[in-house]
Amino acid sequence: MSRKATIWLWRAASFAVAASFIALWQLIANLKLVSPVFLPGPDRAWASLMRGFSNGDLWSKLAGTLEHMVYGWLVASIAGIAIGAIIGSSKLMRTYVAPSLEFLRPLPVSAIIPVAIAMLGLTQAMALFVIAFGAIWPIMLATIHGFAAVEPRLYEVARSLQMSRLAVIFKIALPSASPDILAGMRLSVTVALILSVVCEILAGLDGLGHWVLLSARAFRSADLFAGVILLGITGYVTSVAMSMAEHRLLAWQAAQR
């Protein structure tokens, strides 16, 4: 069998599995094994999703969540790469700062939220801080690792070419660390989505998290599930987009394998 045919067969199989899950869900809903108040069938969830899109409610919620996620992630990326680059390119910094990082890193971000609320209130700024704080770790640690792992020989090449410090960072260190950094950014985008929802739920900020919470409180289970499905799709789409960006940016790595 050709490679292409095999790939299509696998895709068909995974599609079949997804389809049978939905069928099972519909079956459970139809048989009322769980009360319809708590579990809508996929038909009702889908109808609610379509209704939400057609009257624009879900669009604005989705936009709110995406805004929280993207801004938080961008702040985390810029700060994480900058701080990671400084720490990673200096052995002294690694020795002195790394232990502090090891203390901060495993701290659950949820523990930071009350602190952030106390200091910033139930505001967008609070959400931005919490999301960025949570999403910065994978990026920063990956950047530190990437910068520390640059081939020393390349620094010697840079020295013999009398390259400027800035040129060394942008032409040698950053590209060399880019596979690590992009992997960290891919992990972070998921963290940013999770924290966006958490912040929306806790602080009542406009977004899918808030929508899901209100729907649950009002026993509008179809709306609740529509929100959850949309969040799932958002996570999936961002992760696929990140993979595609990685694939494009790291085309040179394919040559090494």
Partner: protein, 268 residues
């Protein structure tokens, strides 16, 4: 041939200023003396080969000449100026080409790195890159990544990048050590032709004694622990050299015997 003439002139007058001069250079690293009281002058346009048993400090000597190490005592001068840091006029061809090339840049991009560092305007680079890749026998490979090239091609690429620096001095650290015999012989002749064309001074470190005699105007053998000069041979074989006839000459064989005896003695 102008270089040979210049070199002969220098030899005749006997006191031309060396391009690279080691004056009583001692280097200690981690409490160990790697090189002790090394004095050595390399004339402009000279092809100097350094041989020696492993651990004799020949690579270290090259790194001192490159300005990558600073001597603990003594001085390394380049054109009469103390070498305090690496400089663009001195290019280094590393043995581990796989580590010295940027894997995320194509062949053209790797050559471009040296042109960028030299401040060449972007518009002028493509033509120069093409020319350099042709010079080292890599025309038509501009778009390939190093990982898509064979070892010999990668080393050619590194040499092209070094030539892009337009170096006065080329420092080569066992550049063909990792290549097979046929590729190695081809590259030896190409390097000789390139050097003859550019007039660059070369310090060539190798553990291959035949290679040293075949390439060099002069061969220096280092003694280990600590590194110091043990033997110095003038190679008066005619140029251009030829893989078969040069290696059959009585003078070649005499030098070869002398060098082998020396290395054997150091290993006891």
């Amino acid at each position: 041939m102008a270089i040979t003439a210049k070199r002969r002139e220098a030899d005749a007058s006997g006191h031309s200023d060396p391009q690279i001069a080691f004056a009583g250079v001692t280097l200690e690293l981690g409490g160990k003396t790697i090189i002790e009281n090394l004095s050595l002058g390399v004339q402009p346009g000279e092809f100097l080969c350094i041989v020696g048993a492993s651990g004799c400090g020949k690579t270290t000597a090259l790194r001192l000449a490159a300005g990558l190490y600073q001597p603990t005592s003594g001085r390394v001068n380049f054109d009469g100026q103390p070498m305090l840091q690496p400089r663009r006029e001195i290019a280094i061809v590393f043995q581990d080409y796989g580590k010295a090339l940027l894997p995320w840049r194509t062949a053209a991009g790797n050559v471009s790195l040296a042109l960028e560092a030299g401040g060449m305007p972007a518009a002028d680079r493509p033509a120069r890159i093409e020319e350099l890749l042709r010079t080292v026998g890599l025309p038509g490979h501009a778009g390939k990544y190093p990982a898509e090239m064979s070892g010999g091609m990668q080393q050619r690429l590194q040499i092209a990048r070094c030539l892009a620096q337009e170096p006065k001095t080329l420092l080569m650290d066992e550049p063909f050590g990792a290549l097979d015999a046929m590729t190695r012989q081809g590259l030896q002749d190409e390097v000789l032709a390139l050097v003859a064309a550019s007039g660059a001074t070369v310090i060539f470190v190798t553990h291959d004694l035949d290679e040293a005699i075949y390439l060099g105007d002069r061969v220096i053998g280092l003694l280990p622990h600590p590194g110091r000069i043990g033997i110095e041979l003038q190679v008066n074989l005619p140029r251009p050299r030829d893989q078969l006839s040069t290696r059959e000459q009585p003078e070649f064989l005499r030098l070869r015997r002398q060098l082998f005896d020396f290395i054997k003695a150091t290993e006891q």
